[in-house]
C-alpha cells in the first residue's frame, strides 16, 4: 500500500504521518529548536509544543487577531502560517514584550486604562499595538480604531484600548525625545 512518496495509505487515504524536520526559532530572544511536522501551525507550535500559551486561539482562521505575534517586528496572525515556514525567524510573543519585570508601556497602559476584561484578546491586542507603534503607523485615535480593528474584543474594551494605546504613544514619544 505504499505510494511513491513512501506514505502509508488505506485506500486513497494517508495513514502515516508527514515527516518532521528540525527548525530553529528565535523566540523572545532565545533560540528554540523544534522537531516539527509541516502541518503544524505556528500558533499551535507556540501553544502546544513550546508552552508559550500567552498567544491565544480565538478562531484559527485569521478572523480575530487573538493569535497576533511579531515576526521580525511585524504583527502577523500566527494561526495563518505554518511554523516550518519560519525557520530562523525572530518571533516575539506576549511573553517577550516586557523587559524582565519592567512592563512595556503598552502593557502598563492597558492595566491603567482597564483595556481588557477577560484578558483573552489582550496578548493579541498588545502585540498588534506594539507592532503598529514600532512601524510608526499610529498617529491619531482614528488610526488606532482602524488599524486595531483586526483584533476583536468581545468584552468590548475598545474605548479603553484606544485610550491605553494613546497613552503609550505619548510615553514612547517622550521617551524618544
Amino acid at each position: 500500500m505504499n505510494n511513491k512518496s513512501g506514505v502509508e495509505t488505506a485506500g486513497n487515504v494517508s495513514t502515516s504521518l508527514p515527516p518532521k524536520s528540525w527548525i530553529t526559532l528565535k523566540i523572545n530572544g532565545a533560540e528554540r529548536h523544534l522537531e516539527i511536522a509541516p502541518w503544524t501551525i505556528l500558533l499551535d507550535a507556540l501553544r502546544n509544543l513550546l508552552d508559550l500559551t500567552g498567544t491565544k486561539k480565538g478562531c484559527d482562521h485569521g478572523q480575530c487577531g487573538a493569535c497576533t505575534v511579531l515576526i521580525d517586528g511585524k504583527p502577523i496572525n500566527s494561526c495563518l502560517t505554518l511554523a516550518i515556514m519560519h525557520d530562523g525567524a525572530e518571533v516575539t510573543t506576549i511573553e517577550g514584550i516586557a523587559k524582565g519585570d519592567a512592563l512595556h508601556p503598552v502593557q502598563q497602559a492597558f492595566i491603567e486604562h482597564d483595556a481588557f476584561q477577560c484578558g483573552y484578546c489582550t496578548p493579541g491586542q498588545i502585540c498588534s499595538a506594539v507592532g503598529l507603534l514600532n512601524a510608526g503607523k499610529l498617529r491619531t485615535p482614528d488610526d488606532i480604531r482602524e488599524l486595531m480593528s483586526g483584533n476583536i474584543c468581545r468584552c468590548g474594551a475598545y474605548p479603553n484600548i484606544v485610550a491605553a494605546i494613546e497613552q503609550a504613544m505619548q510615553s514612547e514619544g517622550s521617551a524618544a525625545q
Binding site: 502515516s16 500559551t53 476584561q117 483573552y120 480593528s149
Partner: protein
C-alpha cells in the same frame, strides 16, 4: 496609605497576569503525556446515525481512539444526572448517548490522538451515514405551535397575571401603537474557545481545567454522569476568556474530555473550534408583539406584551422577556404572555441579560414609537409614566434613582438640543439621529460561602468557588476583604474558579458582587471578631471594655472607631494570642424578611447618537451616554468597563449580530467571526458611563446591585430609536443592517 478600597477606582489585581500572557485558560495546561481530542459534529439537523466508520481514522498513526455512542462505556442514563444549575425543564442533551441527531453541529464522535494535528486530520476520516428526518428550524413557520411552558424554570419566570382590562383599554385609547419586534438568534462568541484539559491523576481521580462560569456546577455534572465520588472530581478555571452566559451550563467538551481521560487513563484536552461554538446555546429567536394604548397626553392606559421564542425539542428553555413594562411604567391595564415553540436546534442559553435585553428592546422601541404618535419627547413620555412602585409585585422599590439617570444622562448628552422631526439634524453628508431608552435588571443575591485565612505576617487569603469571566470579581473581592480587615491590597489574595473552594452558585445574573461579596464581607468580619476577642485579652488592652462594633480595621491595625489614634497592629494581636493563623468560613444568605417587601432592580437611561450616511446608509454609533443606578459602586474602574462592554454588545445586537440559519439544511451558516459580525474597534466611538448616587440598605449587606447585564438592556433600542430619528425609517427586526434602510 489608607486601606479604604471600596468605591475607589482600582486596577485589576489580575491585570499583570493578563497583559504578560501569564494568565492560563482552560486549554493552556500542558501536562505530561497529553492527548488531544478533536470533535466530529453532525452534518444534519434531525435524524439518526445509521453507520459510523472510524476505521480509516483509527488506522492513522498516533490515533488512540475514536469515541462514539457505539463504543463509549457506561454513563448515566437518567435526566437528573445531566441537570445543572442553569438547566431548563426537560431532558438535558447527553453527548454520545445514542444515535439520535437533535441538531446540526451535535457532537457525534471524538477522535483522540497523540498530537493535535493528528486528531484533526483523523477526524476528517470519520465517515458517518445518517437516516435523515425532516426538520424545522424556522420559528416564523411554527408560531401556531407556541405553548406556555408547563414546568417553570424558576419562580418569577412566568408572565404576571393580567391587571385591569388591557384589551378594552387599548381599544378605547386615543393613541394606539401595535407592532411586532423580532430578534434573531445570537451567539455569545466569547473570544476563548470552549476547552477542557482533563488530567488523569492515576488514582481514579480527575482534575479538569475547564471553561465555565461555575466550577462546582461542572464538578457535580461530571461526578453524576460518570459515577465519580464528588471528591474525585476537581474542576479548575481561574481564568475564563469571556462567556456572557455561555459557561453557565457545563458544555459538551468537558464531558468528552472526561470520557476520554477515563477510558484511556491518560490526560486529554478537547477544544472546540469557532465553528463548533455555534453548536452551543444561543440567545433564542424571539418574536414580540407590543401594543400600547395611551391618553392624549401620553399617559399609558393599556400595555400588552406577548413573546414567542424558540426552544429545542428536548428542553423548555425559558427567560423573562415580558413583565418588565409592569415594573418600569405606571399603567393599570396590563397583559403579558410568553410562549415557546420547539425547533430542531440545540437548547438556547442565557446570553447577557437573558429576557431583559430582548424584552426591553421591544418595549423601548414601542415607547419611542408611541412618543411620536403622542407628539411628545421620548424622555417626557418616560417621565410621565414613571412608576413609583412595582405594579407587578405591588411593592415599593428598595431604591430607584432612575430619574437621576434620565436627568444626568440627558444633560451630559445635550438631549435638550434635539430637534424632534426625524431626518432634521445632519452633519455634512450624514444624517444625525438621537434616540434614548431605559434599562432595567434585577438586583439579585444568592447564598454563598467564603473562607478567610489570616496569617500573623498580615497576609490574608480569601476564597469562594465563583468565577471571574472578565467581570472584575478577583479585584472587587480583594477590595472588600482588604477594607474589612484594614490590610493593604497587595497583602490580600482572592481565590476563585476551583471546585474545592467554599460553595458558590454559578457566576451570572449580575449577582456575583452581591452574592460572593456578602460572603467575603461576612467571613472577614468573622476573622475580625476573633481578632477582637484576642485583643481584649491583651494586657492593658485598649479594647477591654468595648464591643466589636466599637472597633474598625484600617492600615493594618485594629482601632477604636471614635479615637482612631488608638490601635494595635493585627500581627501583634495574633502574636499575643499565640495564633499564627486565623481561619474562618462563613455562609451568607439573602435576608428574605428584609428583601421580600421590596422590588429590587438596577436601572439605567441610555442616550445614543448615530450618524447615517445619507446615500450609503451606513450607520455609525458616534456617541452613547449611559447612566446607571446600580447601588453602591465597589470599583468605578471595572464597573465602568462592565457597562461599556455591555454597551458595545448592544451595538452588535442592534446593528450586526445574527446567526443566520439555512432553513433547508437546518444549520447556522454564519458560523465564524467573518460572517457573524461583532463590533470591532472602528465600530465604537465615545461611550460615556455615569454612575448616579444610589443608596440601598435592602438589597444586601453591601448595598451593591450588580452591573454585568444592565449595560446591554435597552441600549439596542436606544440605537434603533436613534436610527429612526436619523432616517425616519423604523426597522423592527434586528440587526439594522444597511439593506433594511433603503
Amino acid at each position: 496609605m489608607t486601606t479604604n478600597y471600596m468605591g475607589k477606582a482600582t486596577s485589576r489585581v489580575d491585570g499583570r497576569a493578563k497583559v504578560t500572557g501569564a494568565a492560563k485558560y482552560a486549554a493552556e495546561y500542558n501536562v505530561p503525556n497529553l492527548a488531544y481530542g478533536y470533535i466530529v459534529t453532525s452534518a444534519i439537523a434531525r435524524g439518526r446515525i445509521t453507520k459510523i466508520d472510524a476505521s480509516e481514522a483509527l488506522a492513522v498513526e498516533g490515533v488512540l481512539q475514536v469515541f462514539t455512542h457505539e463504543n463509549r462505556h457506561k454513563i448515566a442514563e437518567d435526566d437528573q444526572s445531566y441537570e445543572d444549575e442553569a438547566a431548563s425543564p426537560g431532558s438535558p442533551f447527553r453527548p454520545l448517548y445514542d444515535n439520535q441527531i437533535k441538531f446540526s453541529g451535535q457532537p457525534v464522535a471524538l477522535v483522540v490522538a497523540e498530537e493535535f494535528e493528528i486528531a484533526r486530520y483523523a477526524a476528517s476520516l470519520v465517515h458517518i451515514e445518517y437516516k435523515v428526518e425532516s426538520h424545522e428550524t424556522d420559528l416564523s413557520k411554527v408560531r401556531a405551535n407556541g405553548y406556555e411552558p408547563k414546568i417553570k424554570r424558576m419562580e418569577g419566570f412566568e408572565p404576571v397575571k393580567p391587571r385591569g382590562n388591557a384589551e378594552k383599554a387599548f381599544q378605547r385609547a386615543v393613541h394606539q401603537h401595535d407592532a411586532e419586534y423580532d430578534l434573531p438568534i445570537e451567539h455569545h462568541n466569547p473570544m476563548e474557545l470552549f476547552a477542557s484539559t482533563a488530567v488523569w491523576e492515576g488514582n481514579g481521580k480527575i482534575t479538569i481545567y475547564d471553561k465555565n462560569q461555575g466550577a462546582q456546577n461542572c464538578q457535580r455534572y461530571i461526578a453524576n454522569i460518570f459515577g465519580f465520588p464528588m471528591d474525585d472530581v476537581r474542576v479548575i478555571s481561574p481564568f475564563v476568556g469571556g462567556a456572557f452566559g455561555s459557561g453557565l451550563r457545563p458544555q459538551y467538551q468537558i464531558f468528552l474530555a472526561a470520557l476520554a481521560a477515563r477510558e484511556l487513563k491518560c490526560s486529554v484536552r478537547v477544544s472546540l473550534t469557532r465553528q463548533q461554538m455555534f453548536g452551543l446555546g444561543y440567545r433564542p429567536n424571539t418574536l414580540q408583539r407590543v401594543a400600547i394604548g395611551a391618553a392624549k397626553d401620553g399617559a399609558l392606559e393599556a400595555f400588552m406584551h406577548d413573546a414567542l421564542a424558540n426552544t429545542s425539542r428536548y428542553e423548555d428553555y425559558q427567560e423573562m422577556v415580558v413583565n418588565w413594562a409592569g415594573s418600569l411604567y405606571q399603567c393599570d391595564n396590563m397583559k403579558f404572555s410568553y410562549n415557546i415553540a420547539q425547533l430542531d436546534l440545540c437548547t438556547p442559553m442565557d446570553m447577557r441579560a437573558p429576557g431583559g435585553a430582548p424584552g426591553m428592546y421591544a418595549i423601548e422601541c414601542a415607547m419611542d414609537e408611541l412618543a411620536y404618535k403622542v407628539g411628545c419627547d421620548p424622555l417626557e413620555l418616560r417621565l410621565k409614566n414613571y412608576s413609583e412602585k412595582d405594579q407587578n409585585e405591588g411593592k415599593p422599590f428598595s431604591s430607584k434613582e432612575l430619574r437621576a439617570c434620565y436627568r444626568q444622562a440627558a444633560e451630559k448628552f445635550g438631549w435638550a438640543n434635539r430637534k424632534p422631526q426625524p431626518g432634521s439634524m445632519r452633519d455634512g453628508s450624514e444624517l444625525i439621529g438621537w434616540g434614548m431608552a431605559t434599562g432595567i435588571w434585577e438586583a439579585m443575591q444568592q447564598p454563598a460561602s467564603a473562607r478567610a485565612v489570616l496569617t500573623s505576617d498580615g497576609k490574608l487569603e480569601v476564597s469562594s468557588a465563583t468565577a471571574d469571566i472578565g467581570t472584575g470579581t478577583y479585584t472587587i473581592m480583594t477590595q472588600i476583604a482588604a477594607e474589612t480587615l484594614g490590610l493593604p491590597l497587595q497583602d490580600v489574595t482572592f481565590k476563585l474558579g476551583d471546585s474545592t473552594l467554599p460553595q458558590s452558585p454559578i457566576e451570572g445574573g449580575s449577582w456575583t458582587a452581591a452574592t460572593n461579596g456578602s460572603a467575603v464581607k461576612k467571613v472577614c468580619d468573622a476573622v475580625g471578631a476573633k481578632l477582637f476577642a484576642m485583643a481584649q485579652k491583651m494586657e492593658a488592652s485598649p479594647f477591654a471594655n468595648l464591643k466589636f462594633e466599637d472597633v474598625a480595621f484600617s492600615e493594618g491595625q485594629m482601632r477604636l472607631k471614635n479615637d482612631s489614634d488608638r490601635g494595635v497592629a493585627i500581627g501583634e494581636i495574633m502574636r499575643h494570642g499565640g495564633a499564627t493563623t486565623l481561619a474562618e468560613e462563613a455562609t451568607s444568605s439573602p435576608d428574605e424578611a428584609k428583601q421580600e417587601p421590596y422590588a429590587r432592580y438596577t436601572h439605567s437611561a441610555i442616550f445614543v447618537e448615530v450618524k447615517v450616511d445619507e446615500e450609503l446608509r451606513t450607520i455609525r454609533v458616534t456617541r452613547i451616554v449611559i447612566a446607571v443606578a446600580g447601588g453602591r459602586i465597589l470599583n468605578p474602574k471595572t464597573a465602568r468597563s462592565q457597562v461599556l462592554g455591555a454597551a458595545v454588545g448592544a451595538i452588535g445586537m442592534a446593528l450586526e449580530e445574527e446567526s443566520v440559519v439555512d432553513q433547508n439544511l437546518g444549520r447556522i451558516m454564519t458560523h465564524n467571526l467573518a460572517d457573524y459580525h461583532v463590533p470591532v474597534n472602528a465600530d465604537v466611538y465615545d461611550i460615556d458611563v455615569i454612575f448616579v448616587e444610589e443608596h440601598d440598605t435592602i438589597v444586601n449587606p453591601l448595598g451593591v446591585k450588580g452591573l454585568g447585564e444592565i449595560g446591554i438592556v435597552g441600549t439596542a433600542a436606544a440605537i434603533a430609536n436613534a436610527v429612526f430619528h436619523a432616517t425616519g425609517k423604523r426597522v423592527r427586526d434586528m440587526p439594522i443592517t444597511v439593506d433594511k434602510l433603503f
